[in-house]
């Protein structure tokens, strides 16, 4: 990569964010509106609010819930998806029920889950799991179903053991679709993390943002929203890093199929 192409790429990536921040900065600069403070004040609040004890008290618990919930959903979704995708009878018998459960918006389960788990970590994590499992499950099922017939025959002819058939054929073959489901689930996880904390907890990002709003700490509230956005960007960058490593064969194959 030459220096010019590197600069051009950097320009494409950072161009719009820089413009938006500049726009926000300029339009809000002299603002007297209480609910629309100047960006400079929000930035000050950001540093004060989050680079301190609040990070351990609120940001970390949220991230831990997110991480645990997402991980459990990933394992459960892939596991169930492989089973549902592999066995026709299972698929036919549970697919209608799956459609029903999938159609229920997860936030609506929060009141019910509070009844069962009470207010606390378990409820938060459960909401994240229940919401995230669907995109992973459905994508994995589809990926497993569409494993190439000839590849399956090949594995059968060479007498692959069931374990190697799973790890050397089914999962790699379905991995592009599993990754697509996992990517969707990641944004769902962030949304549900916040929503579950809005309802009922004593710490966490969602909780704190609502507290700021109720106590009229408006710059702090804005800074919390910015932090959420930044967490989202960071997580999706981490995700893409791992995805591009695991699926380099897939992108390479797609490129070569298109004759690039």
């Amino acid at each position: 990569m030459t220096l010019t192409t590197l600069l051009r790429r950097l320009g494409y990536t950072l161009g719009l964010p820089v413009i938006l921040v500049a726009l926000w900065w300029v339009t809000s600069a002299g603002s007297q509106n209480f609910f629309w403070p100047p960006l400079a004040r929000i930035m000050d609040a950001f540093a004060e609010t989050w680079f301190g004890p609040r990070f351990a008290a609120d940001v970390l618990p949220s991230l831990i819930r997110l991480f645990i919930g997402y991980l459990v959903a990933l394992v459960a979704g892939v596991g169930l998806g492989v089973a549902v995708g592999s066995w026709r009878w299972l698929r036919e018998s549970i697919e209608p029920s799956l459609e029903f459960f999938r159609a229920i918006p997860p936030p609506v389960l929060v009141p019910i889950l509070i009844l069962f788990f009470g207010i606390g970590e378990t409820m938060n994590v459960a909401v994240i799991i229940i919401g995230c499992v669907w995109p992973i499950l459905l994508n994995t099922t589809e990926g497993v179903r569409s494993v190439d017939e000839v590849q399956r025959d090949t594995a059968a002819c060479f007498r692959f053991r069931p374990v190697s058939r799973l790890f050397r054929l089914t999962l790699p073959a379905a991995s592009p679709q599993i990754a697509a489901g996992a990517r969707q689930a990641l944004s769902v996880a962030i949304i549900l993390m916040v929503i579950s904390e809005l309802f009922a907890t004593t710490n966490g990002l969602g909780f704190v943002i609502v507290q700021f709003q109720r106590s009229f700490q408006i710059p702090q509230m804005w800074s919390g929203i910015i932090l959420l956005g930044l967490i989202g960007v960071a997580l999706s960058m981490i995700f893409r890093f791992f995805e591009s490593r695991a699926l380099s064969w897939y992108t390479g194959m797609r490129h070569s199929e298109r004759g690039e």
């Binding site: 002819c157 050397r168 790699p172 897939y250 194959m253």
Partner: protein, 281 residues
Amino acid sequence: MVPDATRLPGTTVAGTGPEVMLDIRHVQKIYEGRDRSVEAVRDLDFRVAAGELVCVVGPSGAGKTTLLRCIAGLLEVTKGEILLSNQKVTGPPEGMAVVFQEYGRSLFPWMTVRQNVELPLREKGVDRSERARLVDEALEAVGLAHVHRAHPWQLSGGMQQRVAIARAVAYEPRVLLMDEPFAAVDAQTRAELEDLILRLWQRLNVTIVFVTHDIDESVYLGQRVIVLSNSPTVVLDDVKIDLPGERDQVTTRSRPEFSRLRTRIYQLVQLAKQQNATARA
């Protein structure tokens, strides 16, 4: 590649060889559909001796692939049985390798060429150093030693099929089934691959069943050619190919016996098509 002369073991193992490797006994295959069933294969009955190279030829839609999938244990036969070394085939048997027509789809794109060739050996429980040796030899034999770290999709179609052949060869099968393996490669590559198969067959002393719709290819490669009828399939004829053991793309194909044999088989296949047309009329 210069088409190189290949010496065949020839008559020593043909037909009358002592050990029967594959015994196809009155095999019938009916596909049961929801409201109708299709008889793809009516009655196939033939034997293949150990070390023989038998070509199976027939018009398209003749149930060639059905037969091969039955032998490979991927399909259950409706009637009759298939024996491999006197053992009934009920699922994919030990010591058998298959090269499919769809080379691109039979290789695992997430693995390198080397990993693709090595994987069946791991499944077989071959230890590490032995695996490395077998993979190196197989890739060397198909002329792909230099690309072992590439992924299959980085290679041309002909090279991909070579990888599939290397994978089968490294597995050291007793029986190698090939299902129209060269149908999708260009003519020049095809000739090279045919000679490659002859060389490997002679070196490894493996039994090969080679399914093709190409009559010339069947005569060029086979010691025997089994001619199938249209579906529902029966064996029309079992033609012994009495060409000299040494085969060469140019001289073998221009011999009078070659054209006599290909004419005979061509007429048989034409007859099969006509019979089918009159039967339907």
